[in-house]
Symmetry: C2
DNA sequence: CCTAAGTTGAACAGTAGTGTTCGAGTTATT
DNA sequence: AATAACTCGAACACTACTGTTCAACTTAGG
């Protein structure tokens, strides 16, 4: 053994590297549109032959896995650049504005991942992202800004759900893309308000 | 021509009728669990041979179509028995309590329908149900009970989204089935409350 | 009891995907 | 310029589905 061949292959020709990048790009786009997109379609979209693709990603699972890994890493990075300190309500608005479209795209990928990969892997990979949101909402609850008559985990799920709802509405042309972030944040904040703060009619 | 042979076939043996019923039942259940369930699986679940199933439903589309038609009719009937008059907030609670699980199940079937049937047919069939909800929410808006700073169509989508969210949470074991209706209604009502009714902290 | 209606598995053709192999051609790198 | 790395299409084996045909069998109903 001259060199330890670990995960990031050392020697790879430039064109191979370019092709791998093209495949991952094409896969991200294709799978976002159709989670059942075939390897053949993805290869064609990447502008390379099917065999070449298999040369870099031995199985469909390998490809999907890597696409998910990248999308997740990108999302994680985007999330870390958002300031989640201060008033949880303001922070939530910033969070939504900065990440709703990312989450929406990922949602389409998720179904692709779910039927190509073991469910455990998928869930485990997402836990990192969920944690940020959960932390923010939990803080809002303990500060009395968000309601406590419903479990925080439910509030997290509802937020997630509303984001995907907005994505669908935008895709269907019923909501303008510029309005989405505001709709989401306004709706979620309203849903999270403690019942005591609502004046009875 | 002795008799006009219209849609509901007249002469059919009792066992055939029974089998058809068994197939539709099995299909509803199987497709709710997995929208990609094969004809073979459904036939086995119904306790009959695959060929027999094809005898009654020439194509997968025919079967899915009929399953959807029935589920929709059942949902419509259930909806009509709910009193949607009076305070829109109370009406919404009744609506959710009486129909959330129905909607949740249908959601799983919907994806099966969407990839076996032309999209137009599917959407058209659902319009009837949406109308009831839309009417209720629109009324709430015009009576000043629900917010008007967001379009009613958005509120309808959000409600729908929250119902499916609850269904997922129940399926995942994070929310108890008995709590679901209350979670949904409480969250939705809070989200629909006009901003003016919320006291600033 | 008779028969038409219904059921059945086996076998078939057709489609569409995954993943592999091969041999010939191309290109990056030294 | 030499060579190892890479690409490519064609063809292959395999799996899993849909839908069809057939001939034997069972059963409902008059």
């Amino acid at each position: 053994m001259t060199t330890h061949e670990t995960s990031p292959r050392l020697k790879r020709r430039a064109d191979a590297e370019r092709n791998i990048e093209a495949v991952l790009d094409a896969a991200r786009i294709s799978l976002s549109r159709d989670p059942d997109a075939s390897i053949g379609e993805i290869a064609k979209a990447a502008g390379i032959g099917r065999v070449t693709l298999y040369g870099h990603f031995p199985t469909r699972a390998d490809l999907v896995s890597e696409v998910m890994r990248r999308a997740l890493a990108q999302a994680e990075q985007a999330l870390e650049q958002i300031d989640l300190a201060g008033d949880p309500r303001e922070a939530l608005r910033r969070l939504v504005a900065g990440s709703w479209s990312l989450t929406a795209d990922a949602g389409a990928l998720l179904t692709a991942a779910e039927q190509a990969l073991p469910a455990e892997d998928v869930h485990a990979a997402h836990d990192g992202l969920f944690a940020h949101v959960t932390t923010l909402i939990t803080r809002g609850c303990s500060e009395g800004v968000f309601r406590t008559d419903l479990p925080p985990s439910w509030l997290v799920s509802v937020l997630h759900s509303i984001v995907h709802c907005a994505a669908s509405e935008v895709a269907a042309g019923r909501v303008r893309k510029e309005d989405a972030a505001n709709y989401i944040a306004t709706t979620a904040l309203s849903a999270f308000t403690p019942p005591a703060a609502i004046s009875r009619a």
